[in-house]
């Protein structure tokens, strides 16, 4: 792709998210979401092979449906209450419609099925943009509306954590596993959204750091299946030994960063008098933990049979930039002791 066009498209990505962040009016927020979708589409289809174009088409159709539904709901809101402001939603009908439209946009559980299919057709860098940057703008809107029906958010959240764990169980494709992991994490964020929005933000940021590390590890190893991950240990041994920690941090095991959001969310749910919900959510996290554990097992904890040339570390250093990976890996593994600071920053 021409670098000028690439710059234009990346600028469009930034512009869309910024407009949605800055707007208090539904029309401008919708415009920002549409700019975001438009700008990522050529990036997704840039290699012009059939899988990528198919994924692009699926993504476009889903996002266009969600955006049209959002526009329709905000017009209905203006019609019923005479109010275009995002934070002044009062009527239950448009609020519910917008909640569902945003859930479709970020891929929450009953509307999640586009997410693994789309991510599977993309290369890892574009997939990283799709599962981090593209979630920001819808989540900014999600945090601003005040849903007056708590059942919807809880159902969406619990179904997402369940489907995110369940769907990833039998996968051999890394990108699909990452997509299901994304669905599960978004479910946790939705679960706590109405009780403590600051925790949602904290979960989103920790998820970004962890999934950034996971995507970059797979990209550095050029691995998109569990098989190729299993024989890639000789390439960068230190990274291979760190990768299980990143994955288990995604799964939410205690001494790692990923435990922080799950801990705080479970505590908040218990404080709100919902111990049953907290128990179910924790049990669904076990399903996710299983496939993270399986990835760690295949990548690091066993040595798969391979020929002699494949199992010796003879390769040259990779020309890829590894500093971002180093920083994000350290953050994804080691920031649990900063929990009080994170609490003070996000939930004052």
């Amino acid at each position: 792709m021409n670098p000028y066009i690439m710059a234009l498209l990346l600028f469009g990505l930034g512009l869309g998210t910024t407009i949605t962040f800055a707007s208090s009016h539904w029309l401008l927020a919708w415009m920002g979401l549409e700019i975001n979708t438009l700008a990522i589409i050529p990036l997704m289809a840039q290699h012009h092979h059939p899988r990528a174009v198919e994924a692009t088409t699926k993504y476009f159709l889903t996002q266009a449906t969600a955006a049209a539904m959002l526009l329709f709901a905000s017009t209905t809101n203006a019609w019923l209450t005479g109010e275009w402001d995002i934070q002044q939603m009062s009527h239950p009908l448009p609020t519910t419609m917008i909640t569902l439209a945003l859930a479709l946009k970020i891929g929450l559980a009953p509307m999640h099925s586009w997410m693994p299919e789309v991510l599977q057709g993309l290369d890892l860098t574009t997939g990283l943009i799709l599962s981090t940057w593209q979630k920001l703008a819808p989540f900014a809107l999600f945090l601003q509306i005040h849903p007056n029906n708590s059942t919807i958010l809880i159902t969406l959240g619990l179904a997402s954590t369940l489907v995110g764990g369940w769907g990833g169980l039998n996968q051999t494709q890394l990108r699909k596993i990452l997509a299901y992991s994304s669905i599960a994490h978004l479910g946790w964020m939705t679960l706590v959204l109405q009780f403590a929005p600051s925790l949602t933000l904290l979960t989103l940021l920790t998820y970004f750091v962890m999934t950034f590390s996971a995507f970059l590890v797979f990209k550095l190893n050029k691995a998109t299946t569990v098989n190729s991950l299993a024989i890639s240990w000789a390439k960068t041994p230190i990274l291979t030994s760190l990768a299980p920690l990143i994955l288990l941090s995604l799964g939410g095991l205690p001494p790692l960063t990923g435990f922080l959001p799950k801990w705080l969310i479970l505590q908040e749910l218990t404080k709100q008098g919902l111990p049953l919900l907290a128990t179910f959510a924790a049990l669904t996290a076990l399903l996710s933990l299983y496939f993270y554990l399986r990835l760690s097992y295949a990548m690091t904890l066993t040595m798969f049979p391979n020929n002699l040339a494949g199992s010796a570390p003879w390769r040259f250093h990779s020309p890829q930039l590894t500093l971002p990976l180093a920083v994000s890996t350290a953050t994804a593994i080691l920031t649990l002791p900063l929990a009080p600071a994170a609490m003070a920053l996000f939930a004052p």
């Binding site: 066009i5 498209l9 438009l38 589409i41 012009h48 059939p50 174009v53």
Partner: protein
Amino acid sequence: MTFIMYLVLFSFVLGLVAVASNPSPYFAALGLVVVAGMGCGVLVGHGGPFLSLVLFLIYLGGMLVVFAYSAALAAEPYPETWGSRPVVTYMVVYLAGVVLVSALFWGGWYESSWGSADELGEFSMFRGDMAGVALMYSAGGWMLVISAWVLLLTLFVVLELTRGLSRGALRAV
């Protein structure tokens, strides 16, 4: 005037039925054109001539392309339409649905959802829709800039997607 509005609204619903029930793209696109035209008529009747003009020019401009494209792409020798039996079945079912829904919401929909923009048009200096558009672009001038920028972005997006048709996966059937 009431008779004309009845006619326009009836054709509007009929056009929607044509879109929904037709298996062949010819007549579905034709139904869409009818719906757009009749929608513009409704807008004119209720105090939005400028919006109606904008919708007519832009939407029908796009619709013409869609019509030509679908007519060229799906050229069937014997396109099915309202004459054939399954299409008639669909039509009857859809019309029954329309009648049912309107019977359910009859009271609630009549009053609140049928306001017109210029009920006191004699007392105001501007028409409601033109003043609204002017207000939107004077209070939010940056929106005009952003809209123009998005149009440019869309041009590059389309060019980038359709570039290199011979080697790409996105091509005409």
